[in-house]
Symmetry: C2
Subunit: 274 residues, 2 copies
Amino acid sequence: MKIGFIGFGEVASNLSKGLRDHGAEVCACVEGRSSRTRKNAEKIGVTLCSTNMEVAEISDVTLSAVVPSKAIEVAEEVSNHCKGIYVDMNNVSPETVNQALGLVKNGMVVDASLMGSVLKHGINTPVIASGPCAHEFAKLKTYGLNIDVVGTKTGQASALKMLRSTYTKGVSALLFETFSAAYKMGLDEELMKYLQKTECPGFKDAAASRIINSAYHAQRKSDEMEEVLKFLGKYMEPAMAHKTADFFRIIAEKVDLDEKPGDYRTIFQNLDVK
Amino acid sequence: MKIGFIGFGEVASNLSKGLRDHGAEVCACVEGRSSRTRKNAEKIGVTLCSTNMEVAEISDVTLSAVVPSKAIEVAEEVSNHCKGIYVDMNNVSPETVNQALGLVKNGMVVDASLMGSVLKHGINTPVIASGPCAHEFAKLKTYGLNIDVVGTKTGQASALKMLRSTYTKGVSALLFETFSAAYKMGLDEELMKYLQKTECPGFKDAAASRIINSAYHAQRKSDEMEEVLKFLGKYMEPAMAHKTADFFRIIAEKVDLDEKPGDYRTIFQNLDVK
């Protein structure tokens, strides 16, 4: 079984590692990416292709894992070249996913979404899938992927994902705002201590990690929130979600981090947090 | 040891029960309250006084646990009548707490805040205290109260509480918005299932309870968020917190529940959720 990745960011690299560990062949195209990305791919044992089209041509399952704004573009790029199943794993709205998958000529498509942090859960991250080839895609369970089929239509999986994002990204924005205020007052450690007492057992580490990731991935999260708004707007007038989107846009403009800091306070120290 | 309550809502009744179980004498004034409140107080074994002034006159420790908008008014009412320590336990800003406690003539005052849900944790709910008589107040640990002294100045405890509220009330608003959208799409149960997988072990019950309480106590929470904004506004331009305040104000206008529903869906069914 050969599994190909379009895009080679956090999602693709973490899943590749897990798939390799379970004996799958994995390929990807890292042209134009940093030497760090290339080295990482080589270390994992990923076969390198020179184009995304080549990836699609040789893979039994092609997984698209790019930034939301590229989802349609990459589907178009490989639309005539898919040998097997094409899976859109991007954090995009059902509308965008339907548009992207509609471009794939052989019609063997899947709408799939990660329902947790791939950084935290790796290959065990829950994945939900819908669409005509969802059950075919679910056979990748053999290679460690934690897939649940939630429906036969594309758009169903991404609808659930968008709802999940509404909540989890909102929580991240809330944590960032609350702790940036607490930090200014010198009360962030005390606050962490008391929230830890009544919220989740792992609250402290999860909160710190969400604050760091909010800043480090602000642009991507901002793009994702635009997809969330596009989706939610059809059902309601989003209020909290609107503010969450504003938040990530503002942070993306303010932040420029070369690498991920180990301590959330580094972010508040270096930023002119509004 | 006689402990008196000004106000007899959820906080006072839950703490009274715990204090009684630990052998304390408890008194309160329930004049003008419903017969259900009176019966509840009698059942717990609370001595009934005819006025708040009488409560303050006979108590070693008087605890104010009223809605935010009444915090100053009740402090003024009993200001000349406190035999012992006066403790402001209300969800109000440091500014409001200082104003209320400044009215108490004998100066034996404490700023105290509940750092968790009294419904969930009862007498074990973490309480933080600051102010000149905080250590005196902390002696109520003997009667089961879970008190930590966080400083010697009034305003310190309520600052931490306001920060906590910024986060927890924001989460409630987020849950309400997200699940009202999911409910409209028929996806609320699926969403609950996947969030439970990656969030807290007790996520499902906590989320349902937060949605229900958001609607049932919307007016009180709206008042509390106004205090939060008053406080945060001095340090930053609150964005998420502003939306949270708007949310509770809107829900308070829309909701009129006689009793607390057992299922969060009842709220979405009966409300014209925006």
